[in-house]
Amino acid sequence: MEKTLRLKAKELLESGEVKVVIGYGWNRSKTRTTPVFITDPADVDTLVWNPLCVNNLSLYLTRKYKEIKALGRPAIVAKGCDIRNIVVLITEGQFKREDVFIIGMTCNGTVYKQDLWKGELTPNIMPTKCHNCDVRNPHVTDFVVGEKSTFTPPEVPTGMVYDKVKDLDSKSQSERWAFWVKEFSRCVKCYACRQVCPLCYCERCITEKNMPQWIETSAHPRGNLSWNLTRAMHLVGRCTFCGECERSCPVNIPLNLINQKMIGVVKEAFDFKSGYDEKTHPPMIVFSPDDKENFIK
């Protein structure tokens, strides 16, 4: 697969169809992958593809990365799950479909965190998203690399995240409160969750607004709760469960639980799953007069 990928990247760069290829490369010791930006066709051999390619590179397509934008039209190496984010970005008018060349990678799953890699991809080191993946064959692409995957996801989504969400739902309100206050109390407000999220593309985040200070910058339990609730709220109907926020969290806050819970709510209430169709608007920017709820008195 790497060979096809490199050849395609070379062809794209040489023909001038794209000016930069955003993909994965090795770090110095070849133990971890890291994002690379190839602008010279001679460098395409830097590109690699393996289960360590966890990063969601669609992040670099957002308007926060002006310098990357300045390089010219990009091609991006993307897994199906990453493409879902590109789709959301298109539906939200961040760029047009033709502004990016998508090199879709068929995928058999990635590791949850690169540190877990022992040379072999086993189910127990794969994140929940991979076990339930319905886009192993990338769905919106300009070019596909790799053999068609025959994997069919289970009818009912399964995995640790779903189990934990269910478990939390079955608990009492005060138990849930205690759980989240404890989890959020570790938050250091580094905002890695925000920075790594391809959908947190605001150039000025609400946390940085200080007249008034909507979200307290202090990493005390109150400021942390308000930040984490707001982050989750701003992703309702948009989050694709790519899991980058949880992976990047230096203090292991289970952000996937809250994201997956809200994905479930959106599915239930609006029958919507984000990131599949670049022509459908995300649910929170549209409405239906027939929306159902049972709590507005």
Binding site: R32, N55, A192, Q195, G223
Partner: protein
């Protein structure tokens, strides 16, 4: 003093001895699938098999958020009150030699043009007990910045693993007093220390060359910066886990009538760090912010405070979501 030993089985007694006198005992412990420096109450909580804790112990000297003053606003008055520094007697146990080496620079900064009592009072009451490393991973690079698991810089007491015991070496006066104060817990005897594990020195890095090249500020607009650090996403994770990063921000929190002034960790990786009120930002691009961090580690800080800007603990490398490795940049600047 070198013949002092501490039996691992006696760690509980040491904790009791410290907490019995009203002190807090901080050690690496397991929390949410990570090794973390936290206050511990018993020896069972202390992790033994670890390379480094996720966090640096700096947060016990320089907390992530703390109240430095309180205020009440009247119709035409502002009543500002200082608060007492919360500085309990503290023992940091199980720190690594690399992170302890950060303390000299920390002290220099917090006593520079203003004595920051919130730091110094805590520092006075803190004893740092380091344990030489018997494990390392590929992110460790202390040997590259001229430190090693045998360094005692910044430590008050230096321990080494020796089977079921530790060898004990009191380094500073504070350390000697600590060992004396808890003399009942420390035994004597001669045990053979386990070998230390030295991370391999990264061959292509020449620290002297790095600092030499950084002195010539013509590199400021060099294309090498965007090239090397384009992938940086601008989160502050590296700065928050770094034992030598110490930038903070002062914020007021409260209502229209009363509130508190807080000192919060800040990060040079945020664009708001240097954003002027006029709207101008001298470090507009992420690579410039990254350059600043690198310069701070290997140029500004060592020059100004003769402290170590980088101690090679490798936390920033481990925590980086895009695996931007500071040693790869050091390598580039060694050329």
């Amino acid at each position: 003093m070198a013949d002092k030993i501490l039996k691992k089985a006696d760690l509980g007694k040491l904790i009791e001895s410290v907490t019995g006198k009203g002190g807090r005992f901080v050690a690496p412990t397991t929390d949410s699938r990570q090794i973390v420096f936290k206050k511990v109450k018993s020896a069972e909580e202390i992790a033994t098999d670890y390379i480094l804790a996720r966090n640096s112990f700096k947060e016990f000297l320089f907390p992530q958020t703390e109240v430095v003053a309180e205020f009440t606003l009247g119709k035409d008055t502002v009543d500002m009150r200082g608060v007492e520094v919360h500085a309990p007697q503290t023992v940091i146990f199980g720190a690594r030699p690399c992170e302890a080496a950060s303390l000299k620079g920390m002290h220099a900064l917090f006593t520079w043009d203003f004595i920051d009592e919130f730091y110094t009072k805590r520092e006075d009451n803190t004893v740092v007990v380091t344990v030489g490393c018997t494990k390392a991973d590929d992110a460790c690079f202390c040997t590259t910045v001229n430190l090693s698991p045998a360094s005692t810089e910044g430590a008050d007491v230096y321990l080494r693993e020796a089977g079921e015991s530790y060898t004990v070496e009191a380094i500073t006066d504070k350390g000697k007093k600590f060992v004396e104060a808890h003399a009942a817990v420390f035994g004597s005897g001669s045990v053979k220390a386990d070998p230390l594990v030295m991370p391999e020195k990264i061959a292509n890095i020449d620290l002297a060359k790095v600092s030499e090249r950084l002195k010539d500020k013509t590199h400021y607009d060099d294309k090498v910066w965007p090239k090397l650090t384009r992938k940086c996403i601008g989160c502050g994770a590296c700065t928050f886990v770094c034992p030598t990063c110490r930038c903070f921000d002062i914020v007021d929190e409260g209502t229209a009538f009363e509130g508190e002034r807080r000192k919060n960790w800040d990060s040079c990786q945020y664009d708001t760090f240097t954003l002027h009120a006029s709207g101008h930002n001298p470090r507009e691009h992420q690579h410039q912010r990254w350059r600043n961090r690198f310069m701070c580690k290997f140029n500004f800080f060592p020059e100004k405070f003769s402290g170590k800007g980088c101690v090679g603990c490798g936390r920033c490398v481990r925590v980086c979501p895009v695996r931007l490795d500071i040693t790869e940049v050091m390598e580039e600047f060694s050329k």
